[in-house]
Symmetry: C2
Subunit: 250 residues, 2 copies
Amino acid sequence: MAPPSGSPLPPLSVDRASPVPLHSQLARQLERAVADGTLPPGTLLGNEIDLAGRLGLSRPTVRQALRTLVDKGLLVRRRGVGTQVVHSRVRRPLELSSLYDDLEAAGHRPGTRLLVDRLEPATGPVAAALGLPEGTEVHYLERLRTAHGAPVARLRNHLPAGLVDTAGLESTGLYRLLRAAGPALHTARQSIGARAAAPEEAALLDEEPGAPLLTMERTTFDTTGRAVEFGSHLYRAGRYSFEFQLMVRP
Amino acid sequence: MAPPSGSPLPPLSVDRASPVPLHSQLARQLERAVADGTLPPGTLLGNEIDLAGRLGLSRPTVRQALRTLVDKGLLVRRRGVGTQVVHSRVRRPLELSSLYDDLEAAGHRPGTRLLVDRLEPATGPVAAALGLPEGTEVHYLERLRTAHGAPVARLRNHLPAGLVDTAGLESTGLYRLLRAAGPALHTARQSIGARAAAPEEAALLDEEPGAPLLTMERTTFDTTGRAVEFGSHLYRAGRYSFEFQLMVRP
DNA sequence: CAGTGGTCTAGACCACACT
DNA sequence: GTGTGGTCTAGACCACTGT
């Protein structure tokens, strides 16, 4: 008896002339097929040998493609069973995103008011976060982020001087500038908490004093281990929450 | 001129008789060496061919070990340069943990008061989160978590009936029970926000009404895509914050 | 230029799941 | 037993980095 599946795969193909690695081509095609429903949740992919043969690839190459998708949480592999598309809906597993991009993706109309943009000496906590000697000149940014014109968050950032050009900052996110500026971002350490709004904070964010606010502190590092950004942000609790998905690594 | 490094590796060795895969043995040894400082940040590992030869392994096997460590954020590889230990301190990248384990690891003395433990019909939001028909009997837990005797959080959980045995729940975390109960956890979808404390909530948590509280909602799925837990939790803002590190996936 | 990781191949045997 | 993924090998060539 034929198993319920094994061949209903989308038309996969690889282009050996392309500069894109073969395993990467395969991974992207499968990822797209999962995303657009061509491969519904639970679909059993054909076994690796068949897949390799059908595409004219070797098994290790196919395995590399599958491994990256398993790591992304899109596929599940079980010995003796096969490789299936994961049942639960998969969203982005928690990326280092800027609030600006988040709002834009959610269909809100993000805006930015640049409140402060200057160099100043790093105080204790900032110097510690950035790993610089206290008193070093750092770039300080303070912004008010809005959506549909209403305030959403107050963003405070300290960066090593000269790292980014703040020209386009009113119409994009800081992270986009950082990625463009050069350093390969590697990790970020975040802390999310809550506290009551101080009077000036309340006024700026259009809340009552004492209203609950979400706080987020984040230090971002590049691959060489240097801190490229320290942020200390304040979000209106009713207008924003952190949503993310996390994967269980075995 | 000899480059600054290449051989100062800890005494690596693999045991071919062990049931533990070779790549996994190597990865663990390197991980431990990074963790305990034997391989300080920035250390340049010898090239893959040497490493393979020294251990009597093939290059793909060594590469598999290195890849898992790169994925974990411990190593950085650059073509033409080599493989280095990442400079910045690496912590756990955000795991699916129970508050109980977090508190215990932080040296606090976690305690639990089981407030509610019963079966009840799933209401709308709970049914939706768990993917069950409305009205299905589900297991409902309500707990007060303390540290050093002071309240830290109120935890509300809904689970499919019969999934866990709540016997040991006063002295351990729900996640430990879930992992032990069988289902292979796969992903969790979380949302972190803030709001003001309602009067009963304030009383339970030893706060003033209106005090800011952190909220966290989480639905956890197993590899088959079934929801195994829906939690709706409340944390005292002054006593708890979410700390985690996230990696930038290329 | 030399050295590095990145990619790819064509096999092999083993461990586990399901029938 | 049969079929699956898991592991492992011994090569090969390419692309990028830094001198």
